[in-house]
């Protein structure tokens, strides 16, 4: 285990023991069993904020992992043809079970260098415009389903970004996705925050991993605004109702992909495969529908979202 989350501290001595035993060629069955039990204890009682922490785990399978495992002949496309190329958005064409698809995802970067290059997954105006461009390409030219992978702390906030029109750019992918005459499946794989996540989430079907979250604001940002105190993040997280279970109940999310006890990073391969299956299931249904009807349904679906008295 490279990195234990704060609420997993009780595992530390157990992992240490495990390594010790491995080193000494002793049997590990017993200790492994203990770890599983402890994990179960922890993961059966997760708070919303703990789920957010799992969603942000550095070893959690990320967009690049999903692309490498699920798509054949993936070829990355670059640039928005207007103002730049944002590495925090990876987009391109690939083959999914023999069908061409456009794949678009946010990327946080694996190495420190990549993380800086990708702004830790915060999307620049040129990133939003790249999404819109590839969506249009999929809809007009390749007539291919669109699959998005969402894992972003939101739109990048910086001098350069405000200058390049973050405020305008963010609506471009939203409009492009509404307009697209092809099936769209959005997959929330980690954190999905604010307009950054929204911009990739307009879809016919939203799939969400069990320990991911999708929120109007980060718990830290929300706490800073509402409590003027970042330390209230944990409290606010529960109020925000942002987990997969919450959103499935709210009818925002269509399908939850299960994760093992301990989170996706403890069994990447299995989770990625399950995600691929979930995408496949949704696409199979969507591909049967008429493309115009698809678009109309999508618009109607979003029009109905909201709870108010009348």
């Amino acid at each position: 285990m490279k990195y234990l989350l704060p609420f997993e501290k009780s595992l530390k001595p157990l992992y240490k023991e495990l390594e010790e035993k491995k080193k000494n060629w002793e049997t590990t069955n017993n200790i492994e069993e203990k770890i599983q039990q402890e994990l179960k204890k922890i993961y059966n009682n997760l708070t919303a904020y703990q789920i957010a922490q799992i969603a942000r785990h550095p070893d959690r399978p990320n967009t690049t992992d999903y692309i490498n495992a699920l798509f054949e002949d993936f070829i990355e496309l670059h640039g928005d043809k207007k103002s730049g190329d944002d590495p925090s958005i990876i987009a391109g064409m690939g083959s999914f079970k023999g069908t061409t698809v456009a794949v678009i995802g946010s990327r946080k970067g694996n190495t420190l260098k990549d993380m800086i290059l990708c702004n830790h997954g915060m999307i620049k105006p040129e990133g939003f415009r790249k999404i819109a461009r590839i969506v249009n390409l999929a809809s007009t030219t390749f007539k291919s389903p669109i699959i998005t992978f969402i894992d972003t702390p939101g739109a990048f906030v910086s001098k350069e970004s405000e200058k390049k029109g973050q405020i305008e750019a963010v609506s471009e992918p939203i409009l492009a996705l509404f307009k697209a005459k092809v099936p769209i499946a959005a997959v929330i794989i980690g954190e999905g925050i604010s307009l950054g996540a929204l911009s990739m989430s307009i879809a016919d079907k939203i799939i969400m991993l069990k320990y991911s979250f999708f929120s109007v604001i980060s718990p830290e940002g929300g706490a800073s605004i509402l409590y003027n105190d970042r330390k209230k993040s944990e409290e606010l997280a529960s109020s925000l109702k942002f987990t997969a279970a919450n959103l499935f109940n709210a009818g925002i999310v269509d399908k939850i992909v299960n994760e093992p006890i301990g989170g996706a990073h403890r069994n990447k391969e299995k989770v990625i495969k399950a995600t691929g299956d979930a995408i496949n299931n949704e696409l199979e249904t969507l591909l049967k529908e008429n493309e115009k009807q698809l678009k109309t349904n999508r618009i109607e679906k979003y029009k109905k979202i909201g709870i108010y008295a009348d």
């Binding site: 906030v157 405000e162 405020i167 609506s171 939203i174 109007v216 605004i225 108010y308 008295a309």
Partner: protein, 283 residues
């Protein structure tokens, strides 16, 4: 200038001056520091007579400013804000709605309706900053969407005055979704040939600013602060200092995102100019 920035930083959520609150005491201008009698300020469209600083207007002042006298009639009044998440921060959201309603008499952060402007029939929406910072909740999004569809159906020009801190956190994901819903409604209205003139006033942040940015012609009031994030979130997430100036209407104009930045006393005349041109369409 530095002093102003300092002052503004200290009171980030600037309240809206209402008669009830300040009729008796003079008001200090946030920008130049001069003391102004409330009556004088009101007379001057709530623009500081010393430095031209634009104070916030209440929703009724704003309607009076824009609509021809007595022509505004509200629609969709039955739509009301509710708490759907059992949300709680320093206050429960239920309590906050109750208090806000008591203070403002409003059920939602936006009032929508039809009005004449310079004699032209229009569909009008006005954000109430005094209703939880003009934030975008489900009721707000629904009223905006219905207004846009109302304008589309009746082929009316659509004028929306924005004054909003962004999404309503207390409504969680539902709030975020209102951004998508409203942007889509605007797009469909524009494609049908509709004219949408958003008026951005101080402040316009996050999702509501993004909605405004989809306007046909985008107008902002002088000195308005406009950006992807309000000051608190900016402080929370930005790795660098972002100068206040970059978020001012004047900078956005220069950077290509606004059509016109107007003094408040020219706002109505400017809107009428476009309504006139729209009305004289050849085809």
């Amino acid at each position: 200038m530095d002093i102003n920035i300092f002052r503004r930083k200290k009171k980030i959520v600037v309240s809206v001056l209402t008669e009830k609150k300040v009729k008796e005491t003079p008001v200090r201008c946030q920008s130049c520091g001069n003391l102004i009698k409330y009556e004088d300020l009101k007379e001057n469209l709530k623009v500081c007579p010393y430095c031209g600083y634009h104070f916030r207007m209440t929703i009724s002042e704003r309607i009076n400013l824009i609509a021809d006298s007595g022509t505004f009639s509200e629609i969709d009044t039955e739509i009301k804000t509710v708490d759907m998440l059992d949300f709680k921060d320093l206050l429960t959201y239920k309590e906050r709605i109750k208090q806000t309603k008591k203070e403002t008499g409003l059920d939602c952060a936006v009032i929508t309706g039809k009005a004449k402007i310079g004699g032209f029939n229009t569909a009008v929406g006005v954000f109430a900053f005094e209703f939880i910072g003009g934030s975008l909740g489900s009721a707000t999004g629904e009223k905006l969407t219905r207004l846009i569809e109302y304008a589309k159906k009746r082929k009316l020009p659509l004028i929306i005055v924005f004054s909003s801190g962004g999404e309503r956190i207390q409504e969680g994901i539902y709030s975020l979704m209102q951004v998508a819903k409203t942007i889509q409604a605007v797009d469909s209205f524009k494609k049908s040939g509709g004219l949408f003139i958003p008026i951005l006033t101080n402040p316009s942040y996050c999702g509501t600013a993004a909605i405004a940015m989809t306007g046909s012609i985008i107008i902002a009031e002088k000195g308005s602060s406009i950006g992807i994030s309000g000051p608190r979130i900016t402080k929370e997430v930005a790795k660098q200092n972002i100068p206040d100036k970059l978020k001012q209407a004047e900078s956005l104009l220069q950077n290509g995102f606004l059509d016109i930045v107007v003094d408040r006393y020219l706002l109505k005349a400017t809107i009428i100019q476009f309504l006139k041109h729209y009305n004289r369409r050849a085809i």
